[in-house]
C-alpha cells in the first residue's frame, strides 16, 4: 500500500529514451470505480510550467524514485484530483466529524484506491497518529464529504 503524497513530485522518465518528461503534479482518480485514472504531468519551463493530463495506461511503472512512461497518448483523462480531495470532511454514521482527508491510499501498482488517511488536526495527529479508513468502511462519498461506518 502506498500514499498518493509519496508519488507527487516524482520525475516521469521515458523508458525508451531515458529523457525526463516532467514531474507528477497531481494524481487523478475516479471516485465511483475507485480506479486511478492518470496523473497531471508538469513540464518545467523557464517562463511558465506546462501541464498535461496523462492516462494511467501510459505509465508503465510507479517506482519509489521515478515513474516510467512509454509514448504519451492523447487520450482524454478525467477524474478527481488528489489535491482537491485532501481536506474533505469525514463524518461518522452519527454525523460527528471524524477529521479531514489527509491522504489517499493506493495499491502498490497504483491502480486502485484502497482508502483514506484521516487527520484529526496537528496535535492529535502527532500524539495519536493518523487513522486509516478503507473503502469497505465507507457508507457514502461525495466530492467534499465522506461518511464512514460507526458512531459514538
Amino acid at each position: 500500500m502506498r500514499r498518493m503524497r509519496d508519488l507527487v513530485r516524482l520525475p516521469v522518465i521515458c523508458q525508451n529514451t531515458g529523457q525526463k518528461l516532467g514531474w507528477v503534479k497531481d494524481i487523478l482518480f475516479d471516485e465511483k470505480s475507485n480506479l486511478v485514472t492518470g496523473i497531471i504531468l508538469e513540464k518545467d519551463s523557464l517562463i511558465k510550467p506546462q501541464q498535461r493530463r496523462v492516462v494511467r495506461a501510459d505509465i508503465l511503472s510507479f517506482g519509489k524514485e521515478s515513474l516510467m512512461a512509454d509514448k504519451l497518448s492523447r487520450k482524454r483523462c478525467t477524474g478527481t484530483c488528489w489535491s482537491e480531495k485532501v481536506g474533505s470532511k469525514v463524518y461518522n454514521g452519527d454525523g460527528e466529524i471524524k477529521g479531514t482527508v489527509g491522504d489517499i491510499f493506493v495499491d502498490n501498482l497504483v491502480e486502485n484506491v484502497l482508502g483514506y488517511e484521516i487527520s484529526d488536526g496537528l496535535f492529535a495527529d502527532i500524539f495519536k497518529g493518523r487513522e486509516a479508513i478503507f473503502e469497505e468502511n465507507i457508507l457514502a462519498e461525495s466530492q467534499d464529504v465522506i461518511v464512514i461506518e460507526g458512531g459514538s
Binding site: R3, R9, P49, D103
Partner: protein, 349 residues
C-alpha cells in the same frame, strides 16, 4: 568489547574529530562552500551540454569559457559606464546632498513658522546627528576591515577553481552523499533531495531572470524620461528585486533620492516609472516566472523575509525564502513519517 560498540565509538570519534577540525579551519571553508554552491548552480547547464553529446570535461570547459567571456565583456562594456556614473555621482553628491539638506531646512523653517513644537525639532536634529555618527562609524569600520576584506577576496578567487573540480565529479559526489544514507531509507531521502533541488533550482532561475528584466526595464524607463545614472538605477533596482516584497522599496528609495537631488519633478517621474514597472512585474512577469515555485503561502514568505532580515540583514532576506521552503519540506516529511497510520508502516515493512 563487542564489534558493534567499537563501531559506535569509531563513528562518534570520527564525528567529533571532524567537527573539531572543521571548526579550527573555519576561515578557509567559505571558498569550498561557495565552490559547491557554484557547482550546484552550474550543474544543470553542464548536464544539458552533456546531453548534446559533449563529454563532461568539455562541457565544464565550455561553461567556464562562456562565463569568463561574459564576465570580461561585462567588465569592458558595463563597468566603465558604471564607473563613470559612480565617479560623476561622487563629484556631484556633496552638492546634491546640499540640495536635499536645503529642502529639509526649508521644510523645517516652514513648519517652525507654523508652530512645530520645540521637542519635535530637537528630536529631528538629534536623529540627524545620530545618523551622521552612524555613517562615520560605518566608514571607519569599512576602512579598518579593508585588509581582512582583501585577503577574503583573495581566498574567494579559489571558489571558481574549486567549482570546476566539484563539477567534474558532481555525479559521484551526489551519489556518494546519498550512499551515506542506509539502503532502507535511501529511496525516501532521494525523493526529498529531488524535491529540495527542484525548488531551489526553479526559485533561483526564476528570480535571476525576473531581477534582470526588472532592472533592464527600470533602467530603460528612467533613461527615457531623461534621468542621469539610468544604468546605476537599473542595477540597484535589479539587484534589490531579488528580495521579494521589500526589494522594490529598498531599490526605490535610493533611486528616488538620487532623482530628488535633480528636481522634485524628476523624483516623481522616477518613482512613477519604478511603480509602473513593479506593477507590471507583480502582475505579469513574476506570476509567470515564479508561479507557486516554492510552494509557500505569501504570509510565510513575508514572515520568512522579516525573520531573515532580523537574523542576517539583506543576505538573510536573500536566502530566507529558499531556506524556508527547504525547512518546510524537511519538517513536512518528518511530520508525515510520525503521523502515518500503523497500517501503512506495516505494509512498507
Amino acid at each position: 568489547m563487542k564489534r558493534s560498540q567499537i563501531r559506535w565509538i569509531f563513528i562518534a570519534l570520527l564525528v567529533l574529530l571532524s567537527g573539531f577540525f572543521l571548526f579550527s579551519v573555519k576561515d578557509i571553508i567559505s571558498p569550498f562552500v561557495v565552490g559547491v554552491v557554484l557547482a550546484y548552480l552550474l550543474s544543470p547547464l553542464v548536464t544539458s551540454l552533456e546531453k548534446k553529446g559533449l563529454s563532461r570535461r568539455s562541457s565544464v570547459a565550455v561553461i567556464f569559457i562562456w562565463i569568463t567571456v561574459l564576465f570580461t565583456l561585462l567588465m569592458f562594456l558595463l563597468l566603465p559606464k558604471l564607473y563613470t556614473e559612480l565617479g560623476k555621482l561622487a563629484v556631484v553628491l556633496p552638492e546634491r546632498f546640499q540640495v536635499i539638506y536645503d529642502y529639509g531646512q526649508n521644510a523645517k523653517e516652514y513648519y517652525g513658522q507654523t508652530g512645530l513644537p520645540g521637542e519635535v525639532s530637537k528630536l529631528i536634529d538629534d536623529k540627524l546627528v545620530q545618523g551622521q555618527s552612524f555613517l562615520i562609524n560605518w566608514l571607519k569600520n569599512v576602512v579598518e576591515d579593508l585588509p581582512g576584506l582583501l585577503s577574503y577576496i583573495g581566498l574567494m578567487i579559489l571558489s571558481p577553481i574549486l567549482a570546476i573540480y566539484f563539477l567534474l565529479d558532481w555525479k559521484k559526489i551526489t551519489e556518494g552523499v546519498i550512499q551515506l544514507v542506509p539502503g532502507k531509507m535511501r529511496g525516501e531521502w532521494y525523493r526529498l533531495l529531488q524535491e529540495v533541488d527542484f525548488i531551489i533550482q526553479r526559485y533561483i532561475q526564476g528570480n535571476i531572470i525576473d531581477a534582470a528584466l526588472v532592472g533592464f526595464i527600470i533602467g530603460f524607463g528612467v533613461k527615457l524620461i531623461g534621468m542621469e545614472y539610468a544604468l546605476l538605477i537599473g542595477v540597484i533596482c535589479g539587484i534589490t528585486n531579488l528580495i521579494p516584497y521589500f526589494g522594490p522599496i529598498l531599490g526605490g528609495i535610493p533611486s528616488v533620492l538620487l532623482a530628488l537631488s535633480k528636481s522634485p519633478m524628476m523624483a516623481m517621474k522616477v518613482a512613477l516609472v519604478i511603480f509602473i514597472v513593479q506593477q507590471i512585474d507583480g502582475n505579469i512577469i513574476n506570476p509567470r516566472l515564479m508561479s507557486n515555485k516554492v510552494g509557500l503561502h505569501p504570509l510565510w514568505v513575508v514572515f520568512a523575509l522579516l525573520a531573515g532580515g532580523e537574523l542576517d540583514g539583506i543576505m538573510g532576506m536573500l536566502v530566507a525564502i529558499p531556506l524556508a521552503a527547504i525547512l518546510k519540506i524537511i519538517f513536512r516529511e518528518i511530520y508525515y513519517y510520525l503521523v502515518s497510520p500503523k497500517v501503512l508502516k506495516s505494509s512498507k515493512e
